[in-house]
C-alpha cells in the first residue's frame, strides 16, 4: 500500500511532522447502492491530536467518519473500497473482530444516546462485556476514572444509580464520552457532538476534547467552522464526496489554498 499522502496540502502539515499517523486512508471509495458517496479519498490522521472534518451537508464527511469504525457495514447497500489502516493494521481485514474494532474506535453521536439504564451501568457496560475488569472494585475504578476524564464525576458521584437519561443534554453527552473512553479506545470519533447543546455545555465538551487529545486520536465532524477552528489541529474540507483540502487548522482558516475551501469557510457557498 502506498503510504505517501496524495491529497494533503500544503505537502507536510506541521501537525503531521509532530505526531505519528494513527489512521491512514488510501484511495477510499464509498458507494450507497448506485450513489458514489466518497471519491478516491486519501488522508493521514495524526495520533494524540484533534482532526476536524468540515463541509456542507452531504459532502461525505460523516460517511468517511463511519468508515473508520466500519459503521457502514450495518448498511446493506453500502460498499467500501480502498484501504484504511489504524496503526498500520488493515481494519477491513476479513479476520478482524469488528466488535473489538469498535471498542478500540469509540464513537460519540450528535444526539446524546445513553442506554436506558443507570449512570453507573452506562459506563460499566462496555468494560464488563469486554472483560476489562476482574473484580467489582476494578469496575468501580474504571467507572470513576472514565467519569472523571469526561469531567462528569463531581456532578454525578452522588447519584450513580439514577437513570442516565435524567441528566441534562450536555451531561448526557459527557456520559456518552465517558462510556466511549471506559473501554480504553485509541481513537474517538465524534459526529457533531455539540450540535444539540447550548454554548456552555458546548464549551465543556470542547474543553474535554482538548484534554482527551493528550491520550487519544480524536476525529470530529462539525458544522461549526468556529468549533473546528477552536478544537482541531488538522482540518479536512470535504465537498461533493471529495476531500478538497486537508492541512493545519491554523492555515485552513487563515489562508486556505483551494477556492472551494475559501468560499465555504467565508460563507460564500451556494
Amino acid at each position: 500500500m502506498d503510504t505517501k499522502p496524495t491529497l494533503i496540502t500544503p505537502a507536510n502539515p506541521a501537525i503531521m511532522q509532530a505526531r505519528p499517523v494513527k489512521v491512514r486512508a488510501r484511495h477510499v471509495n464509498v458507494f450507497y447502492g448506485d450513489k458514489h458517496a466518497i471519491n478516491d479519498l486519501s488522508i493521514d490522521i495524526p495520533d494524540r491530536a484533534v482532526s476536524a472534518f468540515i463541509g456542507p451537508s452531504g459532502c461525505g464527511k460523516s460517511t468517511f467518519l463511519r468508515c473508520i469504525n466500519r459503521m457502514n457495514d450495518t448498511i446493506p447497500t453500502a460498499r467500501v473500497e480502498g484501504a484504511i489502516t489504524v496503526d498500520e493494521q488493515d481494519i477491513y481485514d476479513r479476520s478482524l473482530d469488528v466488535v473489538q474494532l469498535r471498542a478500540n474506535i469509540g464513537m460519540v453521536f450528535q444526539k446524546p444516546n445513553p442506554f436506558p439504564k443507570s449512570i453507573y451501568e452506562n459506563v460499566a457496560y462496555g468494560p464488563r462485556i469486554h472483560g476489562l475488569a476482574a473484580t467489582k472494585a476494578d469496575l468501580e475504578g474504571i467507572v470513576e476514572k472514565s467519569l472523571r476524564r469526561a469531567g462528569l464525576w463531581d456532578e454525578v458521584k452522588d447519584r450513580l444509580q439514577s437513570p442516565g437519561t435524567g441528566l441534562s443534554g450536555g451531561q448526557q453527552q459527557r456520559l456518552c464520552i465517558a462510556r466511549a473512553i471506559a473501554v480504553d479506545p485509541e481513537v474517538i470519533l465524534m459526529d457533531e457532538p455539540c450540535s444539540a447543546l447550548d454554548p456552555i455545555a458546548t464549551a465543556r465538551i470542547e474543553e474535554l476534547i482538548d484534554e482527551l487529545k493528550q491520550n487519544y486520536c480524536i476525529v470530529i465532524v462539525t458544522h461549526s467552522m468556529q468549533q473546528a477552528a477552536r478544537v482541531s489541529q488538522l482540518t479536512a474540507f470535504f465537498h461533493l464526496g471529495n476531500l478538497v483540502e486537508a492541512g493545519d487548522t491554523d492555515v485552513i482558516f487563515t489562508n486556505p489554498q483551494d477556492r472551494r475551501t475559501q468560499d465555504y469557510i467565508t460563507g460564500r457557498f451556494g
Binding site: M225, N255, T266, G267, R268
Partner: protein, 237 residues
C-alpha cells in the same frame, strides 16, 4: 470574489472599504495642500489643512469601531479576516499620514521671507513624489493589486535619496550662515515628515501584499535613508 450568502456581511465589508477610500482621499488632499501651503507660505491654506485633519482622525476611530463590530458579529475567516485586519492597519497608517501633513502645514507659519529657494524646490519635489506614492498605494489597495503595491514599496528608496540630499543641503546652509538654523530646522522636519509618509505608504503596500497572499512580505526593503548615520563635517574653508 463571489458574494456572501448573508448580504448584510457584504454590506458591512463594503462600508469599511468605502470609509477607507474616503480616508485615503482626505489624506491625499491634506498632504497636497500642506505641501502647497508651505511652499507658497500660504498661512490661510495651512490653517485649513490643520483643521481638516480632525476628519481623518474621526474616520480612523469609526473604521476601528466598525471593524470590531464585524468581527464580533460575523467571526470572519480567511480573506474576510485579512480584509478587516488590513482595513484597521491601513486606517492607522492614513491617520499618521494625516498627522504628518498637519505638522508640515503648521511649519508654514515658521518659514520667513528669506528662506533658501533651492531647498524649497527640494521639499516640493519630495512632496509630489510622496503624493504619487500615496495615490499609487491607495489604488493598489482598492484594486488588490499586489504588483502595483510592490512598485510603491521599492520606489520608497527614491524618496529616501531625495531626503538625504535635502538633509545635506540644509546642513550646508546652516553651517554657512547660522542665522538660518531656525528656518532650516523647520524645513528639515518637514522633509523628515514627508520621508515618514513614504514609510507609511510602504506599510500599506506590505498590507496589500498580505491581503492578496495571506502571508506577510518577508523580504528586506531597499532603504536609502542614511541621515541617521551621516556625521556632521565642518566644510573646509
Amino acid at each position: 470574489m463571489s458574494d456572501h450568502i448573508v448580504k448584510a456581511f457584504d454590506e458591512e465589508l463594503q462600508t469599511l472599504k468605502n470609509m477607507l477610500a474616503r480616508m485615503g482621499g482626505l489624506a491625499e488632499e491634506e498632504l497636497a495642500r500642506a505641501i502647497d501651503a508651505i511652499s507658497r507660505r500660504d498661512g490661510a491654506l495651512a490653517d485649513q489643512v490643520i483643521a481638516s485633519d480632525a476628519q481623518v482622525d474621526a474616520l480612523e476611530r469609526e473604521v476601528e469601531e466598525r471593524a470590531i463590530l464585524v468581527i464580533a458579529r460575523r467571526q470572519p475567516m480567511a480573506s474576510d479576516l485579512r480584509e478587516i485586519m488590513v482595513a484597521i492597519r491601513v486606517s492607522s497608517d492614513l491617520e499618521r499620514i494625516g498627522d504628518f501633513a498637519k505638522n508640515i502645514a503648521k511649519r508654514t507659519h515658521a518659514v520667513s521671507e528669506d528662506y533658501p529657494r533651492r531647498v524649497m524646490t527640494g521639499i516640493t519635489r519630495m512632496g509630489s513624489l510622496a503624493l504619487e506614492q500615496l495615490k499609487d498605494v491607495l489604488d493598489a489597495y482598492v484594486q488588490h493589486n499586489e504588483a502595483k503595491a510592490l512598485e510603491v514599496w521599492r520606489k520608497d528608496e527614491e524618496l529616501d535619496a531625495l531626503y538625504n540630499s535635502i538633509f545635506r543641503e540644509l546642513l550646508t546652509y546652516m553651517m554657512e550662515d547660522p542665522r538660518t538654523i531656525g528656518l532650516c530646522t523647520h524645513l528639515l522636519f518637514a522633509a523628515k515628515n514627508i520621508e515618514r509618509i513614504g514609510d507609511h505608504c510602504t506599510n500599506i503596500a506590505e498590507n496589500v501584499y498580505y491581503l492578496v497572499h495571506g502571508h506577510p512580505l518577508t523580504a528586506e526593503r531597499p532603504k536609502g535613508d542614511v541621515t541617521s548615520i551621516t556625521p556632521m563635517v565642518t566644510p573646509e574653508k
